[in-house]
């Protein structure tokens, strides 16, 4: 971090007349006048909208001491809800890593008839409101649905999560597959490598960062998902109660201790989100360094 900062300053000071061929993102104008004012406005807005509220959550969680925080998140209902949420999120991101990559592969390399329609279908889970995703799941897997009854089961939650996270891996892997230089693949194939070997030794290493970042995004989404799960989950403690639903339940209790407990669970989710962002940033920097 400090190394990159040190690097970019002389690059700019060397003079704007010399066209900076290295990396455009590294250069930039110093702030003055209008741009300085707009940065000020943005910083204030970000503080009021994002920073202060998130600080309030952490402050509330630890407001009555470390001990209360710890007992809030280790009570049996909460611990089970957190375990279930993390477990489901891991499972969902693993399935997405495999199926998302497969779907992206078929859409880019195979391109069967009707692929254009499937391109649009992939975007549906992103564009649909989460509660509508819940209704869609209910229409199939609800107690009056046309499919198997998954109401109030972990499998029902799992299917709903797969629905809302489908686009992540597909959309991160797809552009990388499109840009992939096929010379190496063709060379390997002409030397007699089997298609599986070509995929494993040549394609897979190149798309791996995209697969990981797609899976990480699905993980983050699954961790915090609420709207698509409220209708199917039925929030049975120790069985189908997930972290977000538990926080919402605590907020309905309107006691001070319930609010503190809600904030404590929320803090755990926030820390997980922060970890996810750091992982994504590391992956992106690795890609940037290579490309």
């Amino acid at each position: 971090m400090t190394a990159t900062l040190v690097e970019e300053v002389p690059a700019h000071d060397a003079g704007t007349s010399r066209t900076p061929r290295r990396r455009r993102a590294r250069t930039g104008l110093p702030l003055r006048g209008a741009s300085g004012t707009s940065l000020g406005v943005i910083v204030i807005w970000m503080s009021l909208l994002v920073l202060l509220p998130l600080a309030a959550v952490v402050g509330k969680a630890f407001g009555s001491g470390w001990h209360d925080f710890w007992s809030s998140i280790t009570s049996s209902t909460t611990a089970d809800a957190l375990k279930l949420t993390v477990g489901l999120a891991v499972a969902v991101s693993l399935v997405n890593a495999v199926m998302g990559t497969l779907v992206a592969w078929v859409l880019v390399r195979d391109r069967p008839r009707g692929a254009g329609i499937f391109e649009l279908v992939i975007d549906i889970p992103f564009a649909l409101p989460t509660i509508v995703a819940g209704v869609v799941t209910l229409a199939i897997y609800g107690s009056k649905g046309i499919g198997p009854n998954l109401f109030g089961t972990r499998l029902g939650i799992f299917v709903a999560l797969l629905f809302v996270t489908l686009p992540f891996t597909v959309r991160t892997v797809q552009p990388v597959l499109v840009d992939l230089d096929r010379d190496a693949e063709q060379a390997a194939a002409s030397l007699g490598a089997r298609p599986q070997t070509v995929f494993r030794r040549i394609v897979f290493p190149q798309i791996l960062p995209a697969v990981v970042s797609g899976a990480t995004l699905s993980f983050a989404r699954a961790l915090g998902e609420f709207g698509s799960l409220v209708l199917i989950a039925s929030n049975i403690p120790h069985k189908t109660l997930i972290a977000s639903a538990l926080i919402y339940g605590k907020l309905q209790e309107t006691t001070a201790s319930a609010e503190q407990q809600a904030a404590a669970i929320a803090t755990v989710l926030l820390v997980a989100s922060a970890v996810v962002l750091v992982v994504l940033d590391l992956i992106q920097r690795r890609i940037a360094r290579r490309g």
Binding site: P30, V43, V121, I124, I247, A266
Partner: protein
């Protein structure tokens, strides 16, 4: 450019590689066919079939009943609230997104990387946590509660709070759509105009805005879809009061909890149609973007 476009299409690859490749394709076709079947089956079962079933359930009671469900006063009001909150939020998203994108791409300042990371944060935060966070700061018992009460400002259980929550969850969409284009075009034209004495505002309207307009339109469509559909964050902060702060997504949730499935399915179907329009619009814009560059 033309070369990479050729590689992208299967017809192009066939032409390039000649008959030997075509034969190999035939031999590999069992695997290809298997993979294709699995992938398309997965997407069909997971997304396509459920959405069709939803449409069927919404229209099953008949078109008359469908429109009666939608004409119900609570539903009408919910759609109005949704429209107002979504439009104001998208407007804020647009102004903020463009400003942040320009700052991040064209200027250097301390904390630039931090700001870039911060605008991505909302994607990774649970909507319920967003709601809780805003309540802790803006509710009457929250940090700013006394200030709000002494100035007669109502945020929680009212539209301002709902807009805050909606802007929070859709924060990065516009900026992330615009940033790559700004990075690509660079600042040469802008600097040329500046050296000729053009004012910052003129440069923005005449140079920056036309170059980013397609990307901006894409970001706005994404943000609008997100703002119309927000559930968790708005649920926590709006109080979900029927006829006052209830949005269409919130009403759907209530409908299914109160066994009024028909109305729930009807409103959900309307939101599906809106989402489909957004997807088609997005695809159209992206195609123009590809042609433009």
């Amino acid at each position: 450019m033309a070369d990479s476009a050729l590689i992208g299409t299967p017809a192009g690859t066939l032409r390039r590689d000649g008959p030997s490749r075509a034969r190999r394709r035939e031999r590999a076709s069992a695997t290809t066919l298997g993979l294709r079947t699995v992938a398309l089956f997965y997407v069909t079962i997971l997304v396509l079939v459920p959405v069709c079933v939803l449409a069927y359930r919404a229209l099953k009671p008949g078109l008359g009943a469908f429109f009666t469900s939608l004409n119900d006063p609570a539903a009408q009001h919910a759609f109005q609230v949704t429209a107002v909150v979504a439009l104001v939020s998208v407007l804020i998203d647009t102004v903020f997104g463009v400003a942040v994108a320009i700052l991040l791409v064209r200027y250097r300042f301390p904390g630039r990387r931090l700001l870039s990371a911060l605008i991505d944060l909302p994607i990774a935060v649970s909507p319920i946590v967003v709601g809780l966070a805003l309540v802790l700061v803006y509710s009457p018992t929250g940090w700013f509660g006394p200030f709000e009460q002494s100035h007669g400002i109502v945020i929680i259980n009212a539209k301002p709070g709902m807009i805050l929550a909606t802007v929070f969850v859709s924060l990065p969409l516009v900026a992330r759509a615009v940033i790559p284009v700004l990075e690509q075009v660079g600042t040469e034209q802008d600097q040329a105009a500046a050296s000729l004495g053009a004012h910052a505002f003129t440069r923005f309207i005449r140079i920056t805005l036309p170059t980013i307009r397609i990307a901006l339109a894409y970001g706005v469509v994404l943000a609008l879809a997100r703002c119309i559909g927000e559930y968790g964050a708005v649920l926590v902060i709006s109080g979900n009061i029927s006829g006052q702060t209830q949005t269409a997504p919130l009403l759907i949730g209530d409908d299914f909890q109160n066994f009024e499935q028909d109305q729930g399915y009807a409103i959900a179907f309307v939101l599906v149609l809106i989402a489909l329009v957004a997807i088609l619009l997005g695809a159209f814009i992206r195609r123009r973007q590809k042609r433009g560059t």
